[in-house]
């Protein structure tokens, strides 16, 4: 395995950076040669995939489907495979990944290590709940674990890659007569209506876009998207575009975002509408613009994502008020009802509401996010480690009650700390309480 030395890398938000020696094996057997944090396409926003001054192993070239049972829909894959590629290959054959995060560029390894959720979390649960076997490479061991191996499995799913290099995974796909998605879009005119629509939704896939610049009566207004997969003639997906350079800082200034959001909101007629989309356009809307993170300019951005319990929706409303008052939000703001499904000690989901908002990396935004984090703690909610770049270790440990169990398993699986990342060091996660 050759190491590409002193390679600058960033999280997806580009606010946190690292310089690492990076290997990118093309043969699976090479994985036995070194133990270092494994990374995929680095779609985690903060520092989960960074290891400054250390080594990382880029898994993206190990991306094959190793077996596929057409009768049961069980696949085994090399985890550098992206979720988007898996969906593209399987959809025409009548199967879909049961859980898909908001970007198709996330690798299966990343989906496991973050126990990601999708727009169907209220029904399907988290990604890890559909994983039936994981192959882990540890310092002196290569082992296969299943959900029956309770401790180590729960420490690996959502486990930030700290229990070994996840090299292969077996998962159950979901039968879906799917090459298109019918999406019903309707306006929610304000916070209460938005929440009510989310609560009442019976759809398999459901997500709300929030205009995080709207204030007063319109606070919390947005568009509710409910979707079902279906068979049909596939409208040709639009070609993806690239962002050729870092955008200037005013590109996402308050007046522009306000104007954009107002247009985006009115795009859907008052009476609502139903449209047909290719599956990737619904599940991975942002992937159509490659490198969209450059739109935030050189300084990058942060995403704040929290989940709060059902009875804390007023706390969430207060957070949204703080966000709209600040005038710092970008157009990307999402509200979702979450179910209880989670598969690991450090999994993010809990039954309740999750809010995700992007902010350009500015001093005022950092201050605002710190406040939102404190509000999340007070509301007994949780922050998502795939997005976080600003929380403190004490906050995170308070939010994740199983942290001690996880830290114990991680210490057994990786006694020398060879798999530590910038994230686990920043939050002291590997420290035993």
């Amino acid at each position: 395995m050759r190491w590409n030395t002193d390679r600058p890398t960033t999280g997806w938000g580009r606010a946190l950076r690292a310089t690492s020696d990076v290997a990118r094996p093309e043969r699976a057997a090479q994985l036995d040669q070194a133990l270092a944090p494994a990374v995929g396409n680095r779609r985690s926003y903060g520092d989960a995939a960074l290891n400054d001054d250390g080594r990382v192993i880029d898994m993206t070239r190990l991306d094959r489907i190793l077996s596929f049972d057409r009768a049961t829909g069980e696949v085994e894959v090399e985890v550098g495979l992206t979720i988007g590629d898996l969906a593209r290959v399987m959809a025409p054959q009548g199967w879909l990944p049961p859980v898909m995060p908001g970007t198709g560029f996330a690798t299966i390894g990343g989906c496991i290590a973050m126990d990601v959720h999708g727009k169907n979390h209220h029904g399907a649960g988290s990604f890890g709940q559909h994983v039936t076997e994981i192959t882990l490479i540890q310092a002196s061991d290569r082992r296969r674990i299943t959900p029956a191996d309770t401790g180590i499995f729960a420490a690996t799913v959502g486990g930030l890659g700290q229990t070994g290099i996840i090299s292969r995974a077996r998962l159950r796909l979901m039968p879906a007569k799917a090459n298109i998605v019918t999406v019903t879009e309707r306006r929610a005119t304000g916070w209460d209506e938005h929440i009510a629509l989310l609560d009442a939704s019976q759809a398999t896939y459901c997500v709300g876009w929030i205009d995080a610049t709207a204030t007063g009566h319109s606070l919390g207004r947005g568009i509710l998207e409910e979707a079902e997969t279906a068979a049909g003639l596939v409208p040709a997906p639009k070609a993806s575009k690239k962002v050729p350079f870092d955008a200037p800082n005013f590109a996402l200034s308050a007046p522009i975002v306000r104007a954009f959001n107002a247009l985006y909101y009115r795009r859907v007629p008052e009476a609502g509408r139903t449209v047909v989309k290719p599956i990737q356009e619904f599940f991975f809307p942002l992937d159509r613009i490659h490198d969209w993170n450059r739109l935030y300019g050189k300084r990058g951005f942060h995403q704040f994502q929290c989940v709060v319990p059902v009875d804390q929706k007023d706390a969430l409303r207060e957070m949204l008020e703080a966000i709209t008052r600040s005038g710092l939000a970008s157009p990307l703001a999402v509200l979702k009802r979450m179910g209880p499904g989670r598969a690991g000690y450090m999994s993010f989901p809990m039954e309740g509401y999750t809010l995700a908002v992007d902010f350009p990396n500015r001093h005022a935004a950092v201050k605002l996010i710190e406040r939102l984090e404190q509000m999340t703690v007070a509301a007994k909610g949780r922050l998502y480690l795939a997005k976080d770049s600003l929380a403190t270790g004490d906050q995170i440990k308070a939010m994740y009650p199983d942290h001690a169990l996880w830290a114990d398993e991680a210490a057994k699986a990786d006694p020398t700390g060879a798999l530590q990342t910038d994230l686990t060091r920043r939050l002291d996660l590997r420290d035993m309480p």
């Binding site: 050759r2 043969r27 699976a28 057997a29 094959r64 489907i65 190793l66 090399e78 290959v89």
Partner: protein, 245 residues
Amino acid sequence: MTDTWIILGATSAIARAFARTQAQSGCGLILCGRDFTDMEATAADARARGAAFVEVAAFDARQPETFAPILALTPGLSGMVNCAVFVGSMPEQGEMDADPALIEGCVTDSYTGPARFLTMLAPLMEQRGGGAIVGVGSVAGDRGRLGNYVYGSAKAGFATYLSGLRNRLARSGVHVMTVKPGPVDTAMTWGLPSMPFMTSPAGVVADILKGLKKQRNVIYTSGIWRIIMTVIRLVPEPIFKKMKI
């Protein structure tokens, strides 16, 4: 009727990307190379993606006795038989300067081995009266340079061979396309100082598919290398011999 691709050097990153596209369009694949563990994984991937069938066969450019068993797999095939050649090896020029015996291996891997295989395959394709051969050379073959002239000369030989084979097989409807990649982002170039106009394995494959569709004879990938190599070829030898590029 199912078309088949024989893929020589099936463990290379470009070959894997190519196999994937052909599997997705429902072709049959015969993957040929040395690392069976790796090829079995690629074969499973191709099956999951919709390949009509996948066979894995031993191929070693330095062991011509491995050639005939591959050809023996073709007679029962229904559609056209095609062949894509992704083999070659690029030892450091410095190593070959120190140990000239290494030259033979480099030339066998990059030129004479695949040429011998294709010469054995040619009559079978003539008989079927169609199909395509994709031969991957290199921009390094366009002019001998200080940094890698043994590898370059092997690829130059292969390119000349392909041009002759094209001349021969065109008469029976077989298309031969020469592909000349510039630097490609693979294990071969990983960790080397950064190179200009680098393309990805998927980029090379996209260019190959476009070239096949348009029945191109020689393609450069990425395309800018056609211009760059034209300029490099035009530099007069008295000046070129003093250059270090």
